[in-house]
Amino acid sequence: MDLLNALIAFLNYVFVPGVAYGSQLALGALGVTLVYGILRFSNFAHGDTMAMGAMSAVLLTWLFQSWGISLGPLPTALLALPFAIGLTILLLLGTDRVVYRFYREKKAKPVILVIVSLGVTFIYNGVTRFIIGADDQNFLDGERFIISAREFKTATGLEEGLSFKTTQGITIITAIIVVAVLFWFLNRTRAGKSMRAYSDNEDLALLSGINPERVVMITWMIVAGLATIAGVLYGLDKSFKPFTYFQLLLPIFASAIVGGLGNPLGAIAGGFVIAFSEVTITYAWKKILVYMMPESLEPSGLVQLLSTDYKFAVSFVILLIVLLFKPTGLFKGQSV
């Protein structure tokens, strides 16, 4: 019984939040890694692209709600998602046309593009705040829980409750679907193959008749999709607040670099590595240990490695360690 309680506490406080957070990071890191692999620069504007995408979804959700459209137990935001992706695609293609293309044609160095993307970040950031404000916005509706802690406790008679939020379920399922579709696209379709060719060797790809502008366009479209989905899922699961997306940039980049920049598989692995390190290192293990150990060995302290204040420091440290010992990341990406 005690072992079961320990397991449930672990699932409730570590595993489920970790998987949901990891999926959100992985989706964000995929976008960063695609831009790095194909357009060859670190896109700092990715966090605020997520914010812009999520903002469009929030506004559309409110519109649908005012029309009385809903998805029953599912959040209306899912219905707004495709339209929000469309808007974000327009935004990114517009930005590319106005900003990035100019530097691409001049064959600007990646470091210049990085600084340019930082400028784009601040513009997006300002526009988001201008349109929707800097405050928390709530756009979640429908059923809140798949399993709620209270119901779980009464149903099983265990001391520990397990809660599984609808948004966590949606996050995980959506992440799996998106990753599957992305890999199918990159490996099986002509457009995907030409993207990979362009990423491997730009000159060779040009010689074999691949249109670079088309590759760039498709890349931005996919990145817009990934960013919007990641942004909306994060906003649904936690809360939509423009500034948090800017803060999210650090763990996202850490995930992409830990996994190996430019390697999609690495981005996913990196996302989960970062998420679980953050959660497990700042979790106080007392509760679980008390269940598992005989009474004489029970810890009196909290068994917490780092206070939760240092959550973001964890991603920094992992990033440093990986860069020191394995500069190409866990999955052989490009070295930074």
């Binding site: 406790k153 948090t244 979790y283």
Partner: protein, 397 residues
């Protein structure tokens, strides 16, 4: 064009001096509250409360032979020291005679040190409650109509004990207010024999508090006390704790009491309880009615205290027969405390007349003002329990 500008400036100058002549006595009070930031939902009624007292005095025509009282507002941001100090300096530049504010403890200390003391300005804060302000060197310029959190810690510990709570987990917002209050609650509760399993800070403005709640839940405890802000991380912690099923009831100190909290959390908050500075009796009843007539909610936290802060300024000015802070600062304790005729909200005109006739007054006001020690409220607390999504007053302590 240039000529026209000159002409209009000249005209404006003439007009202003004429205006100034007509109102030879104008008393300006600055109001510096966090109109943006983590308690922004409270500051609207607070400022309205202070301005209600000013209007009452102006209408009575009794202050310093018919002086008009005007208010100038500035934003403290509640947690933004830079913004608060520049706002305070702006008010000084505009020639205020007294400063009502600031609201949150951290910015209040900053404004006191950087603006009020260098300029010799008197401050009366209706809501800064950090125990640190009690001992801060203030040259006799700082007063508050709210009690120190040291007192709130004692009251909360008593309430918890009366309800049979044996152990608590405690989280606080990571600033002067949160830390001071958490220390007070921890030491008072321990002194009464309770156990505090963990004291952990949380940062405001995060999207996700599941890690914080995980650590708190692991430490355990009968109840989670959230010494935070209702429009900020405090609400986030409660939401996250409810989602994870870690706690069902919460202890809510003053910063968490407000209409917005039951609204954002929903029915799950029912049964949680706490306390906030507040009083019972004729004073608050009269004030609530006056506020309702003026179109705002007089029971909103720290609103009665704001009315009292403004009233104390004006009564002290009358007693000193001067609007100079150096003259009237000595009179504030005198008008606030016994002996003298008790003064309730709505009786400011009468009070001014009594003072003018050389009689003593004892200002009771909306929040039963009784200033102790270095000029802070002795402190009665309103006990609150959330029932059916509403903060209900269940008693006083």
């Amino acid at each position: 064009m240039k000529k026209m500008l000159l002409a209009s400036t000249a005209a404006a100058l003439v007009a202003t001096s004429a205006f100034a002549d007509a109102h030879a006595k104008e008393v300006k009070l600055g109001i510096e509250f966090g109109f943006t930031g983590p308690i922004e939902s409270l500051t609207g009624p607070m400022a309205a409360g202070a301005e209600l007292a000013m209007k009452e005095v102006t209408d009575s025509g009794m202050l310093l032979d018919g002086a008009t009282v005007t208010s100038t507002r500035a934003d403290s941001g509640c947690i933004d020291n830079g913004l608060a100090v520049s706002g305070g300096e702006r008010l000084i530049a505009e020639g205020i005679n007294g400063l009502i504010g600031a609201d949150c403890s951290g910015v209040t200390g900053a404004v006191l040190q950087n603006v009020a003391i260098p300029n010799g300005m008197v401050m009366i804060s209706p809501s800064a409650t950090s125990p640190g302000l009690t001992t801060m060197e203030d040259n006799g310029l700082f007063f508050r109509t709210s009690p120190s959190d040291a007192r709130e810690g004692e009251v909360m510990a008593e309430i918890l004990q009366e309800r049979g709570v044996k152990s608590i987990a405690l989280t606080y917002t990571n600033n002067d207010y949160g830390k001071g209050l958490a220390d007070a609650i921890e030491s008072s509760f321990k002194a009464l024999g309770g156990e505090v399993t963990i004291v952990a800070a949380h940062e405001d403005g995060k999207a996700d508090y599941s890690a914080e709640v995980g650590a708190l839940a692991s430490a355990g405890g009968d109840l989670l006390v959230v010494a935070g802000y209702l429009d900020q991380g405090g609400a986030g912690i409660i939401k996250s704790a409810l989602d994870a099923g870690a706690w069902d009831t919460f202890g809510l100190p003053g910063g968490m009491i407000g209409e917005n909290l039951p609204k954002t959390i929903g029915p799950d908050l029912d049964g949680s309880y706490g306390q906030i500075a507040g009083s019972q009796g004729n004073g608050i009843e009269a004030f609530t009615k006056m506020a309702a007539d003026a179109g705002f909610d007089g029971t909103s936290p720290y609103t009665p205290e704001s009315y009292d802060a403004a009233a104390l300024f004006l009564l002290a000015m009358q007693a000193a027969n001067s609007t100079d802070p150096a003259d009237y600062k000595e009179k504030i304790l005198e008008v606030a405390n016994a002996p003298g005729t008790e003064i309730f909200p709505g009786e400011l005109g009468k009070a001014l007349e009594l003072i003018k006739n050389g009689e003593d007054i004892d200002y009771v006001g909306a929040s039963a003002v009784e200033l102790i020690g270095p000029g802070e409220s002795a402190g009665t607390y309103r006990m609150i329990e959330v029932k059916d999504g509403v903060n209900e007053t269940i008693g006083y302590k």
